[in-house]
Symmetry: C2
Subunit: 691 residues, 2 copies
C-alpha cells in the first residue's frame, strides 16, 4: 500500500455513496407505502402543498438552467470544457438531491399526520424520519459519488483534477446560493405575509384553513428547509472535501503534509492527502446510515432524545473509526485529532445554538416582552449578538488545534470532519418541515386535540433540531471558508505575479486592507437586500389575502374555500425575482475584484467577508431562533400572568416576525455568500494570478 493507495480505498466512498442512494430509494418506497390521509380534506391540502412545492422547484430550476448555461459557456472558453462539464455535474447533482428530497417530504407530511390521526406516535416519528432520510442520503450520496468519480477519473493528472474539482464545487455553490436565498425569501414571505394578514388584519389564528396564505406557508417550509437547506449542506460538504484536496495538491513546502504519512514518498503522501477527505467522508456517511437505522430502532423512546442522539453519537463513532483506519492507511493519528476536533466542535456549536435559542436566553427575551415590543426586540438582538461569542471561540479552537497538528491541511480535515455527518444532520433537518407540515395539515383539516398533541410534540422537537442545524450549518460554513480561503491563498502565493515576483498576501499591503473593507460590505449588502425582498414579497401576499377575504363571499365565515394557488404563485414569482440581486453580488463581487483589483485585494476581500459574514449570520440566525421560541414560551403559558393574545404575547409576536427573515433568509443567505465567494475565488485563482 505504501507509495500507491489501493484503488479499493479510493473507490470506497463511491461504494458507500451508492449504498446510501439505494437506501434513499428504500426509504422513499417505505414512505410511499404508508396510508395516505384518512380524510378528503387532508389529502386535498397535502396535494396543494405538494403541487405548490414542485411548481416552485420547477420554475426555480428553469431560472437556474439559464444561469448554468451562461456559466457553462463562460467556463468552457476560459478554463476548458472539462471544468465546464464538472460545473454542470456539481450543479445537477445538487438539483437532483433537492428534487428527490422534496418528493419524499411532500409525501411524508400527510402520512405523518395520518399516523398521528391513528394514534401512533412511533409510526408518525418513523415516517417523518424516513422522509427526511431520503434528503439526507441523497445529499451525501450524490455528493460523494460525484466527487469520487471526478477524483478517480483524473487521479493521474492532479493539476487538471484540481481545477475540475473547483468547478464542481462552484456548480454546487451556485445552486446552493440561489436555492437558499430563493427558498429563504419564499418561505419567510409566505410566513410573514400569512401571519400579518391572518392575525393582524383578519384576526384569525395561525394555520387556520380559511387563510389563503397558510398553504403557501407550508410550501415554504419545504422550499426553504428541505430544498434550500439541502443544497446548502451539500455544497458545504463538497467545498470542505475540495479544499482539503486542493491544499494537499498545492502545499509547496509540504512542511505539515510531510508529517501526514512519514513512511511514504512525497507523491504517495500527496495521493493519500487527496484521497483522505473522500475516504473519511465515506466513513461519515456509513456511520450516518447506521445512525439512521438506530433512530428507527429507538423510535419508541422520546422523540427529543432520539434526535439528540442522532447528532451526538456520530462524531464519537467517526473518531473511533478514524483511529483504527489511519494506521491501516499509513497515516498519522494527527488526522484523527483534526477530524475529531471538527466533528466534536460542530456538535458543540449545535448545542450552544440550542442553549441560546431554547434555554435561559429565551426566557430573558420572553420576560422583556412585559414592557413591550421595543424591549423584546432589544433583548432579542442582544441575545443574538451574545450568541456569536462561544461558537466563534469554538471555531478558533478547532482551527488552532488542527493547524497545530497538520497545518492548513489539518484545518481542511477538521471541516471535513464537521461535515462528515451530513447525511444524518440533513435527515434530522428535513424531519423538521415534515413534522411541521404534518401539524399544519392536521390543524387545517380540523383533526382533534389528541392528533395535534402528537404532531405538536414532533414539531417542537423539530424546532429545536432546526435551530441546532442552523448553528451547525453556519459553523461548518465558517470552517469550510477558512479551508477554502487557505486553498485560495496557496494557489495565489505559489503563482508568479506580474514581473515574475511571487504574490504576498501581507496585511501591511494597502491593497489587502482595502480588500478587507470591501469584503466587509458584502454581507451587509446581501443581508439588506434579502430582508427587503421578504418585506416586498410579504406585502404582495398580504394584499392578495386581503383581496380574497373581500372578494370571496363566505370565506371568513368558513363556507367558501380560499384560492391558495394564487398566493403560491405570487410567492414563487417574488422569490425568483428577488434572489437575483443578492445572487449576482455573491458571484460578481469576487470575480470583478479579482480581475480588476487583483488577487491580493481579493484575498483581503475574502478575509473581510469571512469576519463579517460568519458573525453576522450567527447573530441573525440565533436572534431569530430566540424570538421564535420566546413567543412559544409565552404561548405555552410559561410567562407568569401572561397569556396568548395578551400584551406580552403581542410584543413577542413582533419579535418573532422580525426574526423570520433573520433566521431563515438573511442569516443563511450571508453564510452561503461567504462560501460562494471563496469557491468562486478558488476557481478563478489561476486566471487572475497568471494574467
Amino acid at each position: 500500500m505504501a507509495g500507491q493507495l489501493s484503488i479499493a480505498w479510493i473507490l470506497s466512498p463511491m461504494v458507500i455513496g451508492l449504498i446510501g442512494l439505494a437506501l434513499a430509494f428504500f426509504f422513499y418506497g417505505n414512505v410511499k407505502r404508508q396510508p395516505i390521509g384518512g380524510t378528503e380534506t387532508m389529502n386535498r391540502i397535502a396535494q396543494y402543498i405538494r403541487e405548490g412545492a414542485m411548481a416552485f422547484l420547477t420554475r426555480e430550476y428553469k431560472v437556474l438552467a439559464i444561469y448554468t448555461a451562461v456559466v457553462f459557456v463562460t467556463l468552457g472558453f476560459t478554463l476548458g470544457w472539462l471544468a465546464a462539464n464538472a460545473f454542470v455535474l456539481g450543479a445537477f447533482l445538487s438539483l437532483l438531491a433537492g428534487f428527490c428530497g422534496m418528493q419524499a417530504a411532500t409525501l411524508a407530511n400527510v402520512r405523518t399526520a395520518e399516523a398521528a390521526r391513528r394514534g401512533s406516535k412511533p409510526n408518525a416519528l418513523l415516517i417523518a424520519l424516513d422522509g427526511g432520510a431520503v434528503m439526507g442520503l441523497a445529499v451525501a450520496g450524490l455528493g460523494l459519488v460525484g466527487l469520487t468519480a471526478v477524483y478517480y477519473s483524473l487521479r493521474n493528472n492532479p493539476h487538471v483534477m484540481n481545477t475540475t474539482l473547483h468547478a464542481f464545487a462552484v456548480g454546487a455553490s451556485s445552486i446552493a446560493l440561489f436555492a437558499r436565498i430563493g427558498g429563504g425569501i419564499y418561505t419567510k414571505a409566505a410566513d410573514v405575509g400569512a401571519d400579518i394578514a391572518g392575525k393582524v388584519i383578519e384576526g384569525i389564528p395561525e394555520d387556520d384553513p380559511r387563510n389563503p396564505g397558510v398553504v403557501a406557508d407550508n410550501v415554504g417550509d419545504n422550499v426553504g428547509d428541505v430544498a434550500g437547506m439541502g443544497a446548502d449542506i451539500y455544497e458545504s460538504m463538497v467545498a470542505a472535501i475540495v479544499s482539503a484536496v486542493a491544499i494537499s495538491l498545492t502545499t509547496a513546502d509540504s512542511v505539515h503534509l510531510k508529517s501526514l504519512a512519514p513512511g511514504l514518498s512525497e507523491i504517495g503522501e500527496r495521493t493519500l492527502g487527496g484521497a483522505l477527505p473522500l475516504i473519511l467522508s465515506g466513513v461519515g456517511l456509513a456511520i450516518s446510515i447506521l445512525g439512521i437505522f438506530l433512530a428507527r430502532v429507538l423510535r419508541g423512546s422520546k422523540p427529543a432524545s432520539v434526535l439528540r442522539n442522532c447528532l451526538i453519537i456520530p462524531p464519537i463513532a467517526l473518531t473511533a473509526v478514524s483511529a483504527i483506519l489511519m494506521p491501516l492507511l499509513g497515516a498519522t493519528q494527527a488526522v484523527t485529532i483534526c477530524l475529531a476536533a471538527g466533528a466534536i466542535g460542530g456538535a458543540a456549536i449545535g448545542l450552544v445554538t440550542e442553549y441560546y435559542t431554547a434555554h435561559k436566553p429565551i426566557r430573558r427575551v420572553a420576560d422583556s416582552s412585559r414592557t413591550g415590543a421595543a424591549t423584546n426586540i432589544i433583548q432579542g438582538l442582544a441575545v443574538g449578538k451574545e450568541s456569536v461569542i462561544v461558537p466563534m471561540l469554538i471555531l478558533c479552537a478547532v482551527a488552532w488545534l488542527s493547524n497545530a497538528q497538520l497545518g492548513l491541511y489539518g484545518v481542511a480535515i477538521a471541516a471535513v470532519g464537521m461535515l462528515a455527518g451530513t447525511a444524518i444532520v440533513m435527515t434530522v433537518d428535513a424531519y423538521g418541515p415534515i413534522s411541521d407540515n404534518a401539524g399544519g395539515i392536521s390543524e387545517m383539516s380540523g383533526l382533534g386535540k389528541e392528533v395535534r398533541d402528537i404532531t405538536d410534540e414532533l414539531d417542537s422537537v423539530g424546532n429545536t433540531t432546526a435551530a441546532i442545524g442552523k448553528g451547525f450549518a453556519i459553523g461548518s460554513a465558517t470552517l469550510t471558508v477558512v479551508a477554502l480561503f487557505s486553498a485560495y491563498s496557496m494557489e495565489i502565493t505559489h503563482a508568479r505575479g506580474p514581473n515574475g515576483i511571487p504574490f504576498h498576501l501581507e496585511l501591511t499591503d494597502a491593497t489587502v486592507l482595502i480588500g478587507v473593507l470591501l469584503g466587509a460590505i458584502l454581507p451587509f449588502w446581501v443581508s439588506a437586500s434579502t430582508m427587503l425582498a421578504v418585506g416586498h414579497a410579504a406585502q404582495k401576499i398580504v394584499i392578495e389575502i386581503a383581496r380574497q377575504f373581500k372578494e370571496i363571499p363566505g370565506l371568513l365565515e368558513g363556507t367558501a374555500d380560499p384560492e391558495p394557488a394564487h398566493i403560491v404563485d405570487i410567492a414563487t414569482k417574488a422569490a425568483l425575482i428577488e434572489m437575483i440581486q443578492p445572487g449576482l453580488v455573491a458571484i460578481l463581487a469576487p470575480t470583478l475584484t479579482g480581475f480588476i483589483l487583483g488577487p491580493t485585494a481579493l484575498a483581503g476581500m475574502l478575509a473581510g467577508s469571512l469576519a463579517v459574514g460568519s458573525t453576522l449570520s450567527l447573530f441573525m440566525a440565533n436572534s431569530g431562533g430566540a424570538w421564535d421560541n420566546a413567543k412559544k414560551h409565552i404561548e405555552k403559558g410559561d410567562l407568569d400572568g401572561h397569556i396568548k393574545g395578551g400584551d406580552a404575547h403581542k410584543a413577542a409576536v413582533v419579535g418573532d416576525t422580525v426574526g423570520d427573515p433573520f433566521k431563515d433568509t438573511s442569516g443563511p443567505g450571508v453564510a452561503i455568500l461567504i462560501k460562494v465567494m471563496s469557491v468562486v475565488s478558488l476557481l478563478i485563482a489561476p486566471l487572475i494570478a497568471n494574467r
Copy 2:
C-alpha cells in the same frame, strides 16, 4: 529650510492651538454674559441639568482616576515613566476638554431658551453655537498643544518620541472609550427609561415636567453628545496624527516616503513626514476658527444652511491652503491630494449619512409603520444595513487613492485630513444637545408656542447635524484604524521575531486567520453588552419613576414636584458600573492576544475587528437615525392619514426606542472599540515583538 524643518513650523500647531484655547475662553465668557432664564422654573430646571451633568462627570472621573493610576504604574514598569506620564497627559487633556465643554453647554442651554423666549432666533442660534464652540476649540486646541509639546521636546530622539506619542494616544483612547460607552449608556438609559415610563405607563407626553425622568434625559444629552462625543473625536484626531508620525518614523524602505520631498535627505524627509500631520492639523484648526466666526456672521440666515456650510467649506479651504503650503515646505503635492481625499471623503460620508437618516429611506421606514412595529423594525434594519455600502466604498476609494500617492503614510495623512476639521465638527455636534436642552427647558417651563417654534427649528437642525456627525465620526474612526493598523504592522514586521526571523503578517498563516475570527467576535460582544446595559439601567429608571408617581401625592396632577435627582443618581451609578465590562474587553482583548498568541494573531484580530466593527457601527448608527426621523416624520403629519398617537406612530415609536441604544450607545461604542484596540496594539507592539 531643506534638511531641517524650522522650529517655527514645528511649533505652529501649538501656537494655533493656544489661540484656539484663548477663543474657547472668549466664547465661554460670551455665553456666560448672556441673560439667564427669565422665569424661575427655567433656572431651576437648568440648575438640575447642570448639577446632574457635573455630578456624573465628577463620579466618572473618579472611576477613571483609578483606571489611570493602574495603567500609569503598569506602563511605568514596562515602557518607562516617560510613556506613563504621556499616557496621563493624553488622558488628562481629554478629561479637561470634556469638563470645559460641559461647563459651557450647561450654561448655554438655558440662555438659548431665554433668547428664544425673547423672540430672537439669531441670538438663540449664536448662543448655542458659542456654547458648542467651547467644546470644539477645547478638544482640538488641547489635543494639538499636547501632541506638539511631546513632539517638540523629544524631536531629537525619534524612537522615544514614537513610544511616548503612542502612550499619549492610549491615554486619549482610554478616556474616549469609557466616556463614550458610559455616556452612551447614561443618555439612552435615561431616554428609554423616561419614554417608557412616561408614554407607556403614565400616558403623559415627552418632556412633560411631571415626569421625573426628563431631567435625567436632558442631562444624558450633555453626557453623551458633549462629553462622550468630544472624547471620541479628540482621540480620533490624536490617533490619526500619531499613526502618521509612527509610519513616517518606521517606514524602513521609505519607498513611498521618498517621494514625499524629493529634494531632502532621508533624515530631513522623516522629520518633515513626522511634522506634517501636526502642521496640517494646525491649519485645519485655523480654518475651523474662521469657520466658527463665519457662522457667527451668517447667524441671520437659515440655521440649516449655516451649519451645512460649516461642514462643507472647511475641507475645500484646507485643500487650497495645503496646495500653497506644500511647495513652501519642500513637500510634494501628493500630500495635498491625500489630505483632500480624506477631508472631502469625510464630508461625503456625512452627506450620505444624512441621506439615509433624513430623506427617502426614512419615508420608507415611516411607510412600513402602517403595517405595524415588525415591518417598521425590518425596514429600519434593512436601511441601516444598506447605508453601510456607500460610506465604506468612499473609505476604500480614499484609502486606495492616498495609498497610490504616498503609500500607507498617505492613508494616515488622509485620516489627518478627515479629522483636520475636528474643531468645527465638534462645535456643530455640541450645538445639538444645547439646542435640544433649550427645547426641553422651554417645554418643561411651559413657555409658549412661539418659543417652542424657535427651539424646535434649532433642535431639528441639530438632529440632522448629529446624524452627519455620527457618520463622520465612524468614517474617520475606520480610516484612523486603517492608519493605526498600518503603523502597528510596520512596527511588527520591522522587529525581529523569536529566532531572529522577521515577522510576516501573511493571510496564509493560520494564526492570522484565527486572529481574524477572534477579532470578529469583539464588536458583537461589546454591542451586546452595551445594549443590555441600556436595558438594565432603563428598567431601574422605569421602576423609580413608577415609584415616584405612586408615592408622591399630586405628581400626576401637576401639583407636586418630581424628584429628578434620584433618577440622575440611578442613571449615573448604572452607567458607571455597566461601562466596565465592555471597556475591559476593549483593552484586555488585544493585550492578552498579543502576549499569549503573539503579534501575528493580534494583527489578524485587528483586521477582523476592523471589518466587523466599521460596518456594524455604521449599520447601528444609521438604523437608529432612520427610526428616529421616521417617527418624527409621522409626528409632523407627513405620513398620509396617520397622526401622532395613531397605530403607525406607535409602531414608529417602537423603532425609535430600539434605535436609541443602537445609535447612541452600541454604534459609537463599537467604533471606539476598534480605535482603542489598534492604539493599545501599537503601544504594546515593541513589547510583544521582542519577547
